[in-house]
């Protein structure tokens, strides 16, 4: 299978060329945040009109790592379930966020917002956190340190493995993949 090298952040034009089902290796910078950081970021924006970092054209990886053992850059850091971020996501996408990496289904309103704003949703494999942590070469906490594992981090990644789930046209690999292999009469089971 063809693997696309994605330097990130990147131009929207490049993001728009990614198709549902494309496998990518990402190099560059992402931000790491999960539920608690999303809530705080959104509250901060509602109060001050600013996020703790400039989210324009950036990407968020939904993860909260385990503690790093001595001598390590970061502990195991696999994706967490994306749907817990759904209520915060359309606001972030409307304000410029370009890419999200997590695992699992997204709500209809998130999918609509992805299409409207020309964004992309990717998945990293859940439960392979030791493997994924090898792609994280540097990390710094940039806000909400008090949240511990849930603090907002900036991460520098090399060959971070991910797959495009929902592209900017709204094509969804979770739907198409399941359909291809489904051998049951009940599609809405």
């Amino acid at each position: 299978m063809n693997i696309i090298n994605l330097q990130f952040p990147c131009k929207r034009k490049i993001l728009k060329s990614l198709k549902s089902g494309d496998q990518v290796k990402i190099n560059g910078i992402l931000y790491m945040a999960r539920d608690a950081a999303h809530k705080k970021m959104t509250e901060e924006y509602n109060e001050s009109g600013k996020y703790p970092f400039d989210i324009k054209n950036q990407g968020i990886y939904y993860a909260g790592p385990a503690p790093a053992a001595p001598g390590r850059i970061i502990g195991p850091a696999g994706p967490t379930t994306s749907m817990r971020m759904d209520s915060f996501t359309p606001g972030l996408l409307d304000n410029g966020l370009a890419l999200m990496i997590g695992k699992g289904n997204r709500s209809e309103s998130v999918i609509e917002s992805i299409k409207k704003n020309g964004c992309v949703y990717l998945a990293a494999t859940g439960g392979v956190a030791a493997l994924i942590s090898k792609s994280i070469k540097r990390q710094e906490i940039i806000a909400y340190e008090e949240l511990g594992a849930e603090a907002l981090r900036k991460i520098y990644i090399e060959d971070f493995p991910a797959i495009v789930i929902i592209d900017c046209d709204g094509n969804n690999l979770y739907e198409s993949g399941k359909k291809e292999f489904r051998k049951t009469e009940n599609n809405n089971a």
Binding site: K103, T125, G126, A129, A130, A149, I163, G177, K178, F181
Partner: protein, 280 residues
């Protein structure tokens, strides 16, 4: 009577927390390899290869396979001829969790009141189920339960007339809804009967079985085989990318119930099926 010092409990729980989070057993690695041979989806095989590689890295470097090192569930089967000296049993179990999560660099994922959500900073309290059995031994099971999968678990209080079909439909529907969220290929624990709480506890306890181990009850064993086939026809596949391996195994336990009820509990577990046990 036999006297057991609770220091032994602390040591055992601590060690089991770390081992369960960092080492995938050879039985489970065999399940991964077998699935890799069967899976026809290229993306699915890619995910299975990642799962295998990840288990290798975690074991070699003694780091957790997953950042979600879970809320700790402990089943303690206490022999009726055992006396404890030292701390209370519950304090000892929690002390073991505290020690293991610190020493093993495991993530502390437990918050205080669910609506206040302050991290307890040591992954306690554990969820503890105590049972009294005959004899002079203590059998401890430690299961670090991740919430990606726990969140997709479900309970239905069916009507007796819903029967086998109702039970199967609910279980398959729950697996289908879990989809890519719960880190498939899944291990699924099912509890049928008892009360609402009993059904979920036996569903969770069913997850302590070894892959491939069928229920000793013939009705449940037959149900397991039917459910396995149906679940793997859903097409969800490894990581939900589409494929033939949606569940690795399904374990059914049952318990007598009330004339008016048919409780069914489905406790979902990710591909790692983390647990350890010890007899003291």
């Amino acid at each position: 009577m036999r006297i057991i010092n609770t220091k032994e409990i602390i040591k055992a729980v601590s060690r089991m927390c770390i081992e369960a989070c960092c080492e995938i057993t050879s039985e489970i690695q065999d399940v991964y390899q077998k699935a890799l041979g069967h899976e026809s989806s290229e993306e699915g095989r890619g995910v299975l290869n990642q799962i295998i590689e990840n288990a290798g890295i975690a074991r070699k470097e003694n780091i957790p396979v997953c950042q979600d090192t879970g809320m700790t569930v402990v089943f303690a089967d206490i022999g009726d001829k055992v006396l404890f000296e030292g701390q209370s049993l519950k304090d000892a179990i929690n002390e073991g969790v505290r020690d293991g999560y610190e020493k093993g660099f495991l993530r502390k994922s437990v918050v205080t009141h669910p609506l206040e959500r302050t991290n307890t900073a040591d992954n306690t309290p554990a969820v503890i189920y105590i049972d009294i059995i005959e004899g002079e031994n203590v059998k401890l099971y430690v299961m670090p339960k991740g919430f990606g999968s726990e969140n997709m678990s479900a309970l239905a209080m069916l009507k007796p007339s819903d029967g086998e079909k109702g039970v199967i439909d609910f279980i398959i529907e729950t697996i289908d809804k879990a989809g890519p969220n719960a880190c498939p290929p899944l291990f699924v624990g099912v509890g049928i009967g008892g009360t609402a709480d009993k059904a979920m506890i036996i569903a969770k306890r069913a997850l302590l079985r070894t892959p491939g181990e069928r229920s000793k009850n013939q009705v449940d064993a037959k149900l397991e085989k039917m459910l396995l086939e149906k679940a793997n026809n859903l097409g969800i596949g490894p990581a939900g990318l589409g494929g033939e391996t949606t569940v690795f195994d399904i374990f059914v336990e049952s318990f007598p119930t009330h004339i008016a009820g048919l409780p069914v509990a489905v406790n979902i577990c990710c591909h790692s099926l983390r647990h350890r046990e010890i007899v003291i």
